[in-house]
């Protein structure tokens, strides 16, 4: 940060960074889900690029794009594993917030206020594109998927997670998470924008990507944690797709 930045603005961004990263605060649902998301992301990347996760900096040399990076909850772990990370968010306010937290954590992440489409235009390419909990918020999912595909190098990996559309996911996400538990602000999600796994795989295919894996992220209200499921894709789920070399 240069010295021309208004100190009051910096204080505001610091407070917002603290809020993003507070495991018991406003973003608690993301923090609760994060270990499970990271387990999936790291194992898929390691498998695709032949990396050994038991070694430090297992992702050194990989260029990773985190679309919809928010406060950097996925960008920072990727940077800590040695990857060269670009965190992109269309919401301008998230960028200085994420940047301040990365600086505080001693991590180097290239945060940018930009969109997938703008990055395509700039000619950027990546080994991995993370597209986690984003597609249910975009206006044109097919255009977004096509842009994501164009951002991948041949042989690159796209990881995409979202929420299924069925009565159970309506109960779990809109009624449960937004209204009953108040985990998420009301109106965070529009149920009609949710996408079923077969619709998502079709979007990916049309964009020119081969989907190689899909799993569910399942919340267990008894043990109060998230786990990866081979079969239960009924609410939250994730796909791994490869751009043909």
């Amino acid at each position: 940060m240069t010295s021309t930045v208004d100190p009051a603005e910096v204080a505001k961004f610091e407070a917002m960074a603290a809020e993003w990263w507070d495991p018991t605060g406003k973003f608690k649902p993301l923090h609760m889900m994060n270990p499970c998301r990271l387990d999936y992301i790291t194992s898929q990347i390691a498998a695709e690029f032949g990396r050994d996760l038991t070694k430090r900096h297992a992702f050194a040399g990989l260029r990773i794009l985190d679309i919809g990076c928010g406060g950097g909850l996925l960008s920072e772990p990727m940077a800590r594993l040695g990857a060269d990370v670009v965190g992109a968010d269309a919401a301008a306010g998230n960028i200085p917030v994420a940047q301040i937290h990365a600086d505080q954590s001693g991590l180097n992440v290239d945060y940018r206020n930009t969109t997938a489409e703008a990055l395509v235009e700039a000619g950027e390419v990546f080994d991995v594109v993370l597209n986690m909990e984003v597609i249910e918020h975009v206006a044109d999912p097919q255009a977004f998927m096509t842009a994501s595909q164009q951002l991948l190098k041949p042989g690159g990996l796209l990881l995409c997670s979202t929420i299924n559309r069925n009565p159970k996911s309506y109960m779990a996400v809109i009624v449960g998470a937004e209204y009953v538990m108040r985990w998420l602000p009301k109106g965070t999600h529009e149920w009609n924008k949710f996408i079923t796994p077969s619709e998502l795989i079709e979007l990916l295919k049309t964009a020119g990507l081969d989907t190689v894996d899909s799993k569910g992220f399942v919340f267990n209200p008894v043990s109060w944690n998230w786990s990866i499921s081979d079969r239960d894709l009924s609410v939250n789920y994730v796909t791994a797709s490869v751009k043909p070399a």
């Binding site: 990271l38 430090r56 920072e76 954590s105």
Partner: protein, 408 residues
């Protein structure tokens, strides 16, 4: 600013040393701080202390590469005999026998002298390039920053890391520095600890006699030697400890009869006050407490070191998995996973040993009858007895991988 180390371990006793080795195996860089000088750690003399290692603890020592070095000096525990007694009367006819033949894993545990464990850990640490051992220095103060923890040492040097682990015993300075309160009570009992040599072989049998003033454990060491942990009321223990060696043996002998023949002292004698002491929390931002710093329980079931090694196995697994996910290992939500994993086991162990001690350190005839019947009943029911054997061997519960002898 980048931290100098991944992790600082304060306290280089058995727990701290084993933890440093386990962490280094997962490629963490570790600073190990201890006030004792090297020569104290490597001393060859036998100070009379020995540890009963559960099978799960042996698996952990094996996994961190220590077991091979202590195995030749380890005495397998083949059988545990629990009996009710009153000084001079010998054992009650209703006794509980736990035999390793009912356990597919082999012996129920091993007795290892403190000096062999100390030396093996010290040597492995010296050979490990990821561990910087700083002996003869104390932690002066600690401060938490956004990306790490900074520790000022008595040498005047300051070091930084992502996480500070307190393995510094029941009077933990690290826990105090984080304002972690403790709760607990004294049992009004003191353990007299010594080793004896005896005329007849012990055949690998560990004995636990329940006496009115506290339990007496006779634990087999290699050769015709045994480790004695003898609990008495504190006043009585102080009186006995002040006696000459000959008078001390004269007090001890009638308490367990003559099944080992003539006995004599070997090594030094020591006393330890017995109490329960639990830290109200075992984690804080960038800080974890392990072993006695987290929990001191009654040694009645030999769970002290074993419980610390369980902490080490669970913590190492939590931190290793977090590191492989790219998580910040010092964050409270990562450390909470360790606290949750261990809290159930720690509270049940504390409660069980407390209840055990209260029931058995008692001369009330009704309670005596009840416990004699209870021991007899457990003995008569093979399923229940096997459960107790597995519990004593540390093979129950949601076991961390290192305790199963598997890599993380």
């Amino acid at each position: 600013m980048a931290n100098e180390f991944d992790i600082i371990v304060a306290g280089g006793g058995l727990n701290g040393s084993a933890l440093a080795l386990a962490l280094a195996q997962s490629e963490f860089s570790v600073a190990l701080i201890d006030p004792l000088e090297d020569q104290v750690i490597t001393a060859d003399s036998f100070d009379g202390r020995g540890y009963a290692l559960a099978v799960a603890s042996q698996s952990l020592l094996n996994a961190i590469g220590i077991w091979e070095q202590v195995a030749t000096n380890a005495q397998p525990i083949l059988e545990v005999v629990v009996s009710d007694g009153r000084a001079g009367e010998g054992a009650s006819p209703l006794i509980l026998e736990l035999d390793h033949a009912e356990l597919e894993e082999g012996p129920m545990g091993f007795m290892v002298e403190d000096r062999y464990l100390r030396q093996a850990l010290h040597q492995s640490i010296a050979d490990n390039s990821l561990i910087r051992s700083m002996r003869g220095v104390r932690v002066q103060s600690q401060s938490i920053a956004s990306d790490g923890v900074s520790v000022l040492l008595s040498s005047g040097k300051s070091i930084t890391a992502g996480l500070l682990i307190g393995c510094d015993g029941r009077n933990t300075q690290i826990g105090e520095g984080a304002n972690i309160k403790r709760e607990g009570w004294s049992y009004g009992q003191t353990a007299l600890v010594c080793a004896i040599s005896h005329e007849r072989p012990h055949n690998g049998i560990a004995h636990q006699f329940f006496m009115p003033h506290g339990p007496l454990a006779i634990l087999p060491l290699p050769g015709n030697r045994s480790s004695i942990v003898w609990s008495e009321t504190t006043a009585q223990a102080e009186r006995i400890h002040a006696l000459s060696d000959a008078e001390y043996i004269a007090e001890l002998k009638p308490r367990f009869g003559d099944f080992l023949g003539e006995i004599g002292l070997c090594g030094q004698r020591a006393t330890y006050p017995l109490g329960l002491s639990l830290a109200q929390n075992t984690v804080a931002e960038r800080l974890v407490l392990v072993g006695d710093a987290a929990h001191v329980v009654h040694p009645i079931t030999g769970q002290g070191l074993n419980s610390g090694l369980k902490d080490i196995a669970a913590l190492t697994e939590v931190l290793t998995l977090a590191m492989r996910r790219g998580e910040d290992i010092g964050r409270i939500d990562v450390l909470e996973r360790y606290r949750k994993w261990r809290s159930f086991d720690v509270s049940t162990t504390a409660l069980a040993t407390d209840t055990f001690n209260r029931v058995f350190s008692n001369d009330n005839p009704t309670i005596r009858l009840g416990r004699d019947l209870g021991l007899g009943l457990v003995n008569a029911l093979p399923g229940l007895r096997r459960g107790l054997i597995r519990e004593a061997a540390g093979l129950t519960g949601d076991l961390p991988k290192l305790l199963q002898g598997r890599p993380i």
